[in-house]
C-alpha cells in the first residue's frame, strides 16, 4: 500500500495526467492512494512518495523552477527528501528539484533553442534505483518529452561523480537501445534523461512517463518508471 502526493503548483499542467497514470498502476481498489498537495500548504499528509509534475509552476518567466523551490510546500518536500523520503520530479518537476539542489546538475535551454514535443527513446543506465528497477537493461522505452529547457548540464567532475555513484538512471537512446549522439534530442550531457541524488531517494527525469501509460493512447512504456516506483519504494 502506497500513498502518492502529487504537488500542484499554480502553473502545473501535468498534475491531473500524473494522478490518473498513478491511479492506473496503484489502484485505490488495492488500497493505494493518490492525492494532490497544494503549493501553499505545509502538510505532506503522510504520503510515502512525493511527485513534482510537469508544467510551468509559477509561469517560469525566470528560469524554469527557480521560484517554485521557494514555495511553502517545497520547504516540506526538501525536509522529506533529506530524511530519505522518495521524491520524483518530471519535466518541470525535475527542473524544480535541480533548482532546489535535491538532484545534481542544471536544466538549460535545448541546444536548438526551441521547445520540443516528441516521442524519444530512453534506456535504463542502472537498475539499482527504485525508479528503474523494473527496466530491462539495454532495452529502449519510448517516452515523450515536451520542454524548452531540458538540456541536462553538469561539469566533468560532476559527471564522474554521477557515474561513480550510479546516479545516472536513464539516458536518451535510439530505437535499439544504443546511446548515440543522434538520439540526444536536446544536447544533454552524456545523453542524460534522468538522474538521482547520491542517496538514491530523489529522482528527476525530463521525459513524461505519465504520457506513456495508456493502451488507448498507444504507449504503455511509461509504466516501467511508474510501476518501478510502486515496487521500488517498498511500501
Amino acid at each position: 500500500m502506497a500513498k502518492f502526493g502529487v504537488v500542484v503548483f499554480p502553473g502545473s499542467n501535468c498534475d491531473e495526467d500524473m494522478v490518473l497514470a498513478l491511479r492506473s498502476v496503484a489502484p485505490e481498489a488495492e488500497g493505494h492512494q493518490v492525492i494532490k498537495l497544494w503549493h501553499k500548504d505545509h502538510d505532506l499528509q503522510g504520503v510515502d512518495v512525493v511527485i513534482l509534475p510537469g508544467g510551468f509552476s509559477y509561469g517560469d518567466y525566470l528560469r524554469s523552477g527557480a521560484i517554485a523551490r521557494f514555495s511553502p510546500i517545497m520547504t516540506e518536500v526538501i525536509n522529506f527528501a533529506n530524511k530519505g523520503g522518495h521524491v520524483m520530479g518530471v519535466c518541470n518537476g525535475f527542473q524544480i528539484l535541480a533548482e532546489a539542489g535535491l538532484v545534481p546538475g542544471a536544466l538549460l535551454h535545448n541546444t536548438g533553442r526551441s521547445f520540443i514535443c516528441r516521442n524519444v527513446n530512453v534506456t535504463a543506465t542502472t537498475t539499482n534505483s527504485p525508479f528503474s528497477a523494473e527496466a530491462v537493461p539495454g532495452q529502449a522505452y519510448t517516452i515523450p518529452i515536451a520542454h524548452g529547457e531540458g538540456r541536462f548540464f553538469i561539469n566533468a567532475d560532476g559527471l564522474k561523480s554521477l557515474q561513480d555513484n550510479d546516479q545516472i538512471i536513464y539516458q536518451y537512446c535510439d530505437a535499439t537501445g544504443q546511446v548515440t549522439d543522434d538520439a540526444n534530442p536536446n544536447g544533454s550531457v552524456y545523453n542524460i534523461a534522468g538522474v538521482s541524488n547520491k542517496a538514491g531517494n530523489v529522482f528527476g527525469m525530463m521525459p513524461h512517463p505519465e504520457r506513456a501509460a495508456s493502451a488507448l493512447l498507444g504507449n504503455t512504456d511509461g509504466f516501467v518508471v511508474l510501476k518501478g516506483l510502486l515496487m521500488g519504494v517498498g511500501v
Binding site: P10, G11, N13, C14, E16, D17, L20, A21, G54, G55, F56, Y58, G59, D60, Y61, G112, S114, F115, I116, C117, R118, N119, P144, A146, G148, H208, E210, R211, A213, S214, L216, L217, G218, N219
Partner: protein, 749 residues
C-alpha cells in the same frame, strides 16, 4: 435617468466633438449622426470612443451580419446558436457539451508576430472557459507570404513560438492545424486560433447580466494601456502607418490565463455566477454592454475601482483597454465572499467595480463623476449597432479563371512533379511546427501515436472522443468562392470521417479583404452561399466564429479569400479512431470516390506549371456525401486499416503520406481512361485512399459492390518499400521522406 449636462462637460477633450473627431476614430458621418440621435446630444470623447469600438467591424459585424444570418444554424445538437454566447455549444451526449470556436489575430500578428499569435491563443481559450468549459484541444490555421523572404521567416518563427509558448504553458494540447504560403499573404499573414472544451450541460455559464443590485466584478490581470483601439485597428487596412499602432497589440501572460482558467471554472461551479464574459476586443465596454444588452439590464461601473497597471489612465483608456487575461463577472448578491475566496486562492485580482441596475443603460463613473452614459442595447450587434448592405460585383479575373483550358497542358515528367510536390512548403511535413507545440498534455490525444486526417482527443471519463480540424484552400476559394468554400466544408467533414468521427458542427473564420471593395464583397457573399449549401448537405450548422475583413495591404490588393472552416466531429466510441498510415505490406489499397480529368487549381498547376489562375477543383456534394458514408461504414465494420483523404498535391502525395510513417512502399496502377497527371496530381474532391488487409478483401469488396453507391477502384498493394511504384515503374522512393520531413526546418529552423 438623463445626465447629458454632466456628461458633456466632464472632459477637456469634449471641447469640440465634431464629425472630424468621429472620423479619426473610424466612424462614418451617418454613424456620427446616429450616435447624436441615440444620445439626444453630442457625445463626449469617452462616449464617442465607446461607439467607435463597439460599432467597429470587429465587434458589430456591421458589414457582414446580413449575410451571416443566412447561414444554417439549426441542429438537434445545438445548445447555443451562433452569436448568442462567446462560443458555439454542441450537445455530445451523456450530459456533456462541446464548446468550440475559431478566431483571428491577423493584424496584431502582422506587426508583432509573437505577441499577436500568443494573445490570439489566449483569447480563444477564454471564449471557451468563460462558458464553463475546460479546453481540451487547440488548432491553428496560418497563412504567410513567400517563405524564402526574411520578413516571412521572422513572422513564421514569431507566430509559431508565440502559439507554442502560450499554449504549452496554458497546458492545452495543440493537435493540428494548417500552414500555407502564398505571395498574397506577404503583407498580411493570417493567424487563426481554434479551441474546443468540454462542459457538463447543466453547468454552462452565460454571458448575461441581470438582477438589480447584483455586484459586478473584474477578475484577473490589471488593466493597462495595451491594446487600446485594437478592435478599430482590426477593422482597417494595414498600411505604412500601422507600425505606429503597436500599442494596439496586446501582451499575453499564459500563467495568468492558467490561473484564470482554474479560478473561473471553480467560480462557475459554485452556481453563484449570474453571468461572465471574457475581455477580448474592446475590453470592459464590450463585456459590460453585451452582457447588459443580453440580460436587458443596465450597469453602474466605477472605473476608478478597476485595478490598473499604470497611473493616470483616462476613463476611455480603461474602458477600451484590451489587456489580456481578464473577465467581467456578475455575482448573485450575498455570495461575494465565496467567489472572492476562489480568486484569492489563485492569487488573482477580484475587484468590485459596479452593480446591475434596471436602467438598460451603462453609467460609467470616475472618482464620482459621470463620464459616460450610454444605452447598452444601442451599442451591440442585434441591437442598435449599424447594419449595412454592401454592394458587390463579380471581379474581372473570374473570366480568366474560366478560360483555363487543361487540354493545352501537356503531360509532365511525373517523377519531377512528385518531387516538386512532396518538397513544396505547402505540402511537406509540418514536423518543424508541430514539435514546437505540446500535443500530448492532458493525455487524451489519440493522434500522437496514430496520426489521422483530423486531430482526435478523448473526452475524459467517457468512451467518446472529439475529432477536430481546420481547412481552407484559399487558392480554390479565389478561383471560385462559392465552390471553393463548399470544398473547405467538404474537406473538413472528410477529414473528420476518415479519422472515424461524424461531423456535427462548424465554426468559421472568414478572412477577406476590404468589404467596401465590391469585388471583395462578392467573394464574401459567394463564400457564404457555398458554405450554406455544404453545411446543409453535411448537417453541420455554423455555431459562430469570426469575420476578419481588411486583410490586405494598401498597395498589394487583397489576400485570397480564406474562409477557414473549423469542424467539430464526434466519435461515440474512441475505438473507431482510424489512422492515415498504411499498416503492413501486402495490404490492398483502394481509392474510394471519382477519378476525373480535373487538374484545376492544384498545387501542380499553380506552382509546378506556374499557371496562377485556373478553375476550382471538381466537387459534387452528393457524391462527396456518399463517399463519406462509405468510409464511415467501412471503419465501423472494421474493413479498413487506414483512411487518408486526397487533398493538396493529389493522389500521389496521399499515398506517400500513408506510406512514410512506417517506411513502407506501394505499387499502384493508374486508370487509362483518366489523364495521368490528373489521376496522380489533380485535386478533384471526394476521394479517400483506404488500405485493407488481405483477410478483409472479400468482405470489403462485397460491401462496395452490393451496398456502396460510389465509384471506386482497387489501386494496388502496400509493399515493404522503399519504392513508390506507378504502373510497374519506380516513380520515386522512400528516400524522399527525409526531404519531405525537413523542408520547413531548412527554411525556418
Amino acid at each position: 435617468m438623463s445626465s447629458s449636462s454632466a456628461t458633456t462637460n466632464n472632459q477637456s477633450s469634449n471641447a469640440a466633438i465634431t464629425f472630424r473627431t468621429a472620423q479619426k476614430l473610424g466612424l462614418l458621418e451617418e454613424e456620427f449622426e446616429r450616435i447624436k440621435e441615440i444620445l439626444g446630444r453630442v457625445p463626449n470623447f469617452t462616449e464617442l470612443s465607446i461607439f467607435s469600438v463597439m460599432w467597429s467591424e470587429h465587434c458589430s459585424y456591421k458589414n457582414s451580419i446580413v449575410w451571416l444570418k443566412t447561414l444554417p444554424k439549426d441542429s438537434p445538437r445545438m445548445l447555443a446558436k451562433a452569436g448568442e454566447e462567446n462560443a458555439g455549444l454542441v450537445d455530445i451526449g451523456g450530459g456533456l457539451a462541446c464548446s468550440f470556436k475559431i478566431e483571428s489575430h491577423n493584424h496584431p500578428s502582422a506587426l508583432e508576430p509573437y505577441q499577436g499569435a500568443a494573445t490570439g491563443v489566449g483569447g480563444i481559450n477564454r471564449d471557451i472557459f468563460t462558458m464553463g468549459a475546460r479546453p481540451i484541444a487547440q488548432l491553428n490555421s496560418l497563412r504567410f507570404g513567400n517563405p524564402d523572404l526574411e520578413r516571412t521567416k521572422w513572422l513564421v518563427r514569431g507566430v509559431v513560438k508565440g502559439i507554442g509558448d502560450y499554449g504549452n504553458a496554458f497546458g492545452v494540447p495543440t493537435v493540428g492545424g494548417e500552414l500555407y504560403f502564398d505571395d498574397c499573404y506577404q503583407v498580411n499573414p493570417l493567424v487563426n486560433a481554434f479551441s474546443a472544451g468540454i462542459v457538463e450541460v447543466d453547468k454552462v455559464a452565460r454571458a448575461t447580466s441581470y438582477g438589480v443590485g447584483n455586484p459586478v466584478y473584474i477578475v484577473g490581470s490589471a488593466t493597462g494601456k495595451d491594446g487600446i483601439h485594437g478592435a478599430t485597428f482590426a477593422s482597417e487596412d494595414i498600411g505604412a502607418h500601422s507600425a505606429a499602432k503597436l500599442p494596439a497589440v496586446q501582451v499575453g501572460d499564459p500563467f495568468q490565463e492558467k490561473l484564470l482558467l482554474e479560478a473561473t471554472l471553480e467560480a462557475i461551479a459554485t452556481g453563484y455566477v449570474i453571468g461572465i464574459q471574457d475581455m477580448g476586443a474592446a475590453g470592459i465596454i464590450c463585456s459590460t454592454s453585451e452582457m447588459s444588452a443580453k440580460g436587458e439590464h443596465g450597469m453602474t461601473i466605477w472605473l476608478d475601482k478597476v485595478p490598473t497597471r499604470q497611473a493616470d489612465m483616462l476613463p476611455w483608456e480603461i474602458l477600451l483597454s484590451e489587456s489580456q487575461e481578464r473577465m467581467l463577472v456578475v455575482i448573485d448578491k450575498g455570495h461575494e465572499q465565496e467567489i472572492k475566496a476562489i480568486f484569492d486562492k489563485w492569487d488573482l485580482n477580484c475587484a468590485l467595480i459596479g452593480e446591475v441596475t434596471n436602467t438598460e443603460r451603462l453609467h460609467f463613473y470616475m472618482h464620482g463623476e459621470l463620464v459616460a452614459d450610454v444605452p447598452a442595447d444601442d451599442l451591440v450587434l442585434g441591437g442598435g449597432a449599424p447594419v449595412y448592405h454592401r454592394e458587390y460585383k463579380e471581379p474581372a479575373y473570374t473570366a480568366e479563371v474560366a478560360a483555363f483550358n487543361p487540354s493545352k497542358v501537356p503531360q509532365p515528367d511525373y517523377a519531377s512533379v512528385a518531387n516538386h510536390l512532396l518538397t513544396h512548403p505547402n505540402i511537406a511535413s509540418r514536423r518543424w511546427v508541430a514539435r514546437q507545440y505540446d500535443s500530448m498534455v492532458g493525455t487524451g490525444t489519440l493522434t500522437t501515436n496514430k496520426p489521422s486526417d483530423a486531430g482526435v482527443v478523448m473526452v475524459k471519463g467517457t468512451n467518446k472522443a472529439i475529432a477536430i480540424c481546420v481547412d481552407c484552400n484559399g487558392r480554390y476559394v479565389h478561383a471560385n468562392p462559392e465552390k471553393g468554400t463548399a470544398i473547405a466544408v467538404a474537406e473538413a467533414a472528410r477529414n473528420v470521417v476518415c479519422s472515424g468521427g461524424t461531423p456535427i458542427a462548424i465554426t468559421n473564420n472568414l478572412n477577406f479583404g476590404n468589404p467596401y471593395n465590391p469585388e471583395v464583397y462578392w467573394q464574401f457573399v459567394s463564400a457564404i452561399k457555398g458554405m450554406t449549401t455544404a453545411c446543409l448537405k453535411f448537417g453541420t450548422p455554423v455555431t459562430g466564429g469570426n469575420v476578419s475583413f481588411y486583410n490586405q495591404s494598401n498597395d498589394g490588393g487583397a489576400v485570397f479569400p480564406t474562409p477557414t472552416i473549423g469542424m467539430l466531429g464526434l466519435l461515440d466510441n474512441a475505438a473507431n479512431h482510424t489512422g492515415l498510415a498504411f499498416a503492413q505490406p501486402d495490404d490492398l489499397i483502394y481509392l474510394l470516390g471519382p477519378s476525373t480529368d480535373d487538374i484545376g487549381s492544384s498545387q501542380y498547376v499553380y506552382s509546378y506549371l506556374g499557371i496562377k489562375l485556373s478553375t476550382a477543383p471538381y466537387l459534387d456534394l452528393d457524391i462527396e456525401w456518399n463517399v463519406q458514408q462509405v468510409v464511415s461504414n467501412s471503419i465501423k465494420s472494421g474493413y479498413i486499416q487506414s483512411a487518408h483523404d486526397v487533398s493538396d498535391g493529389g493522389l500521389l502525395v496521399t499515398l506517400a503520406e500513408s506510406a512514410m510513417p512506417k517506411d513502407l512502399g506501394f505499387s499502384i496502377q493508374t486508370n487509362p481512361d483518366v489523364r495521368k497527371d490528373a489521376f496522380l496530381f489533380g485535386e478533384g474532391q471526394s476521394r479517400v485512399v483506404v488500405s485493407v488487409s488481405p483477410g478483409q478483401k472479400a468482405e470489403f469488396e462485397r460491401y462496395l459492390v452490393q451496398e456502396a453507391n460510389i465509384p471506386w477502384a482497387k489501386l494496388g498493394v502496400v509493399t515493404k518499400g522503399p519504392a513508390y511504384v506507378v504502373d510497374g515503374q519506380e516513380l520515386i522512393n522512400n528516400s524522399i521522406k527525409d526531404a519531405y520531413d525537413t523542408v520547413l526546418e531548412k527554411l525556418f529552423g
